[in-house]
């Protein structure tokens, strides 16, 4: 019954420059993950977005970007669903 959900995250994890995807709820429960992002990172992802929401100055949902040498992590949340996307970093 979750085939559509599985297909959706499979589709996005297969996109160009995408190394992994993680979907979690606002309690840190991992709903699904594909690629290089481990499912046990769900709690950290959820916590990060919750903290960012607390310190944001307005009511808009924040988007977190974490840069490493080779990877760019984007974390966003809407309607109790948090998505973390790991993308291959383009070297300038």
């Amino acid at each position: 019954m979750e085939n559509q959900f599985e297909n959706t995250i499979q589709k996005y994890s297969s996109m160009e420059n995408v190394k992994g995807i993680l979907v979690t709820d606002n309690n840190g429960l991992c709903l699904g993950s594909k690629g290089n992002i481990k499912s046990n990172s769900a709690a950290y992802v959820s916590s990060l977005i919750n903290r960012a929401t607390e310190i944001s100055l307005d009511s808009s949902k924040p988007i977190i970007s974490i840069d490493t040498d080779n990877t760019n992590f984007l974390i966003s949340s809407e309607n109790d669903i948090t998505v973390a996307l790991a993308k291959q970093k383009m070297n300038n």
């Binding site: 996005y12 490493t68 966003s76 949340s77 809407e78 998505v83 300038n92």
Partner: protein
């Protein structure tokens, strides 16, 4: 009635004045003792002075020769200069190692010059704004995932708890 004092004075004696001896010579019976006492006191004084001098000499620290010992010989100067130069070179090498390690830090390397700026001597990471296309991509992903989650239908599989009769 009165009192008249008188004394028997020889006629040939000179009338006493301020220079007249108070004690007659024949009356200096203790002169030898006085000389001995004077000698003894001098000896004692000398002895005490000698003791003081000896004590001082024992505690004396002679530094008159230290200056000549402290002067470095030319050979010592050359050797010390060489040692100090080696230490300086070693410190410079360590400094270079530190610089290499700092350059390898992620996000603060020369390859990512757009990500850091030197302000007042401090390297700071400038927060680059997230691209609009990334924001829209994230939004699309979340919307699609939410739709797929909403489409999850719970199938009725019957009684979940079965009683054994």
């Amino acid at each position: 009635m009165g009192c008249c004092s008188s004394t028997c004075v020889d006629d040939d004696l000179i009338e006493p004045n301020e220079r007249t001896r108070l004690l007659n010579e024949d009356e200096n019976l203790n002169d030898d003792n006085n000389q001995n006492f004077h000698m003894i006191s001098q000896l004692r004084e000398q002895e005490k002075l000698n003791q003081i001098v000896q004590k001082t000499a024992e505690n004396l620290i002679d530094i008159s020769n230290i200056r000549t010992f402290d002067q470095l010989q030319s050979q010592d100067i050359i050797e010390r200069t060489r040692e100090y130069q080696e230490i300086i070179v070693r410190c410079e090498n360590q400094n270079n190692d530190l610089k290499e390690k700092i350059n390898k830090l992620p996000g603060i390397s020369n390859n990512n010059k757009s990500f850091y700026d030197n302000v007042n001597g401090f390297a700071t990471i400038i927060n680059t704004s997230i691209k609009t296309e990334d924001k829209s991509q994230m939004s699309n992903i979340i919307n699609e995932i939410q739709d797929s989650l909403n489409d999850i239908k719970i199938e009725d599989v019957g009684e979940f708890v079965i009683t054994f009769e």
